[in-house]
Symmetry: C2
Subunit: 167 residues, 2 copies
DNA sequence: TTAAACTTTCAATAATTATTGAAAATATGT
DNA sequence: ACATATTTTCAATAATTATTGAAAGTTTAA
């Protein structure tokens, strides 16, 4: 395979993957591009390479910065801004896990806690509701704690976790 | 909070959550409804409760069956089909993790392996590409193995895993 | 074998979400 | 302070995705 083809494939794979960790296609593609770039890129360069508009680039870069996985970089003597991705895959994974937990899992836990605490009126529908949402609440809290635990480990968390688990 | 309100809240929370584990709103809402129902529901009942069309209900129920988390149930003496959710949260989580691994993670690993194996031509762009995609390949493989390991444990996998990890 | 009960399919349409582009805002060098 | 380079915002529009509903298909009971 040619480098150009491989690069294209990486960007598009990342793009469709992105939609499933909660970010849109353009955002994921920008991230992919920065992740494999040896040097920070300007907005102009990103627009050109991905064939997207200025507005689109601007908004999605902001999104990536909010996720904490892309940084603004200034080059001495240059007026415009440059952008760089977090390059360390472990740090990247940790950051994404942290944000997803904060944005999605924790609010869900709050709702589950609230709704599973209603008073039962004794009906089957009511009893089942309480039982099931309580179980889901518990599972989600445990999964979130597990995620936090795995991801807070300093370096190479996945590898280390696997080693521990196989003991 | 009233039961009715709590139920509504559960269905809508699950609905928006759904979009992030890769299934659409209607599908997630149908699942939520079945998950808290004390008895299997008919397609008619699902349509009514969620105010969706017959076609929509039919297609999304099929989707849920493909995910392996909803089953068809026949009641003796009844002509129509009924539907029931997997009720055990651990089994539910296991099934979802298994499917996501198969549908999303494994194909990604394949692509990463392929593109990270290109020959370097010595350019900085090329070297960086290979280095970064190799690192990503490794991380994804490890994360997938970890997921498989956690989820293959018989019962209460999250709890058990946490206990192990805190040792 | 027929008719009624029920389910699936899919083209048309509605709803949602992403993208553009140009005007407004902001930052920088002289 | 000004002119210019650069970035941001956001209403309009395009692209995508979900939903409907009615026709076609299937199953079952008699």
């Amino acid at each position: 395979m040619e480098f150009k083809e491989a690069k294209q494939k990486f960007i598009s794979t990342w793009g469709s993957l992105g939609t499933l960790w909660g970010i849109n296609k353009a955002m994921a593609q920008i991230h992919a591009l920065l992740f494999i770039a040896p040097e920070p890129l300007s907005m102009e360069e990103i627009m050109e390479e991905l064939e997207i508009s200025r507005g689109n680039a601007s908004m999605n870069l902001r999104g990536l910065i909010d996720w904490g996985i892309v940084y603004k970089v200034t080059k001495p003597g240059e007026r415009k801004e440059f952008f760089a991705s977090e390059k360390d895959v472990n740090e990247l994974a940790r950051q994404i896990a942290k944000e997803r937990s904060r944005r999605e899992i924790e609010p869900t836990i709050k709702v589950l806690k609230e709704i599973s605490s209603i008073e039962s009126n004794g009906s089957a529908a009511n009893e089942e509701f309480i039982k099931q949402t309580k179980a889901m609440h518990e599972l989600t809290e445990n999964a979130n704690a597990l995620l936090g635990r795995i991801v807070s480990t300093e370096q190479n968390w996945v590898t280390k976790t696997i080693i521990k688990l196989f003991k």
